[in-house]
Assembly symmetry: C2
Homo-oligomer: 236 residues x 2
């Protein structure tokens, strides 16, 4: 696959600093393999241009007034045009990096980085990879690990303690699952095609096993102990 014969990659730039914008455009145009199909100084304009020109990659500045970069990522992704967003920022703010990556940026580069690295980042992203410079990867993970620290130390301690959820039989798990959706005995009975009293029996057994005395506590126990695994929640 020789570069010369490849179609030029379509790039769009969004940055409220016009000087910077022009600088990058020059740089990318000089490179020869890129085609800067549009530039915008705010997200709203950018979104319109994206719809119009459907670029492969959008370089999106994170630090803009009003509708900011994070929001921009979400909205670009909402268009579902397969546009890849490469976040661009002046600072290596760990929180910002974390949030940008979390909501779907394909990479994150600093404005202070050498232009060669920017080019490389764009190429990686174009190839479907995710690109984060080593320094930012470090900062990202420090933040990442810190945000999970609490949970980890909790887990260290509770790891040898058995998870009471494991005591539940399959049927009991099904019942609990429905309880975590806020359903009454009658509702559960209907869903599982069993009598209400049977549900009550199951629920009572669940309470015994989880050492709680009511639904709410059972549901909370379930949520806090990985019953609804893969649940992730960090404020954007």
């Amino acid at each position: 696959m020789r570069r010369e014969f490849k179609k030029k990659s379509r790039i769009l730039l969004i940055d409220d600093n016009y000087e910077h914008l022009s600088g990058i455009r020059e740089l990318l145009n000089l490179e020869g393999t890129f085609d800067v199909v549009g530039i915008a100084t705010n997200v709203t304009m950018g979104l319109n241009l994206i719809k119009k020109y459907q670029p492969d990659v959008v370089l999106l500045d994170m630090n803009m007034p009003e509708r900011d970069g994070l929001q921009g990522i979400l909205e670009i992704n909402k268009l579902e045009l397969g546009t890849k967003v490469l976040a661009l920022s002046g600072y290596d703010d760990a929180d910002l990096i974390f949030r940008a990556m979390k909501i779907g940026a394909k990479g994150y580069v600093l404005k202070t980085m050498a232009s060669a690295q920017l080019i490389y980042a764009i190429e990686e992203v174009l190839n479907g990879k995710i690109y984060l410079p080593n320094a930012l990867t470090s900062r990202f993970f420090e933040y990442f690990q810190k945000s999970f620290q609490e949970e980890n130390s909790k887990q260290e301690n509770s790891m040898d303690e058995e998870n009471l959820l494991n005591e539940l039989t399959q049927r009991e798990e099904e019942v609990l699952e429905l309880l975590t959706q806020g359903i009454t005995y009658k509702g559960v009975a209907n869903k599982l095609f069993i009598s209400e009293t049977t549900v009550k029996t199951h629920v009572n057994n669940i309470f015994q096993k989880l050492q709680v005395n009511d639904r709410t506590q059972a549901v909370l126990y379930a949520i806090n102990n990985g019953f609804l695994t893969k649940r992730v929640k960090i404020a954007v």
Copy 2:
């Protein structure tokens, strides 16, 4: 800071494959800047050696029987000796990478990687950085973003919708807070020094505002709508 005068870095290896263990030991010894202070073929042995020799870095194989690698990371960190764990694995299993990094690995390298890269990884980790090869960074982030996908798309849609929790008065929030701990009317009444009927009134108002009909649903609404923000949960 010239390498020759630096104290050799202390490394410990844990891998159930003895051949591999010896191979790495040779490699690191040849390098000259490392001092392999111990090797172990399982986590239990490894932990003992770590307590004894206090290495700077532990190379820990992820794919071991019985007490596995993830558990190993947790337990090494629990010792709080500042030992840096570099995870080592034969496969680039995204889930495993994610979980290892989440619980505090300082890096993750594949056994198939060139020895130079292993050396580099160890050095980065020794310097307090976090090291993940580009390929694994990509895999990590794909997994990472996927696990947040649901939440992101939810946020896109619900971003303008008002959060019903905002309708609640301060007192109602306090009551809801207690409900999310699984407390009865009587319990809430005692905690807030008000009568049980007052609590009922508040709770009824909360139900109205959140458009639910019982505690469980209210608690679930609260949890799912950022009442307990910064809550993070991914199964280890």
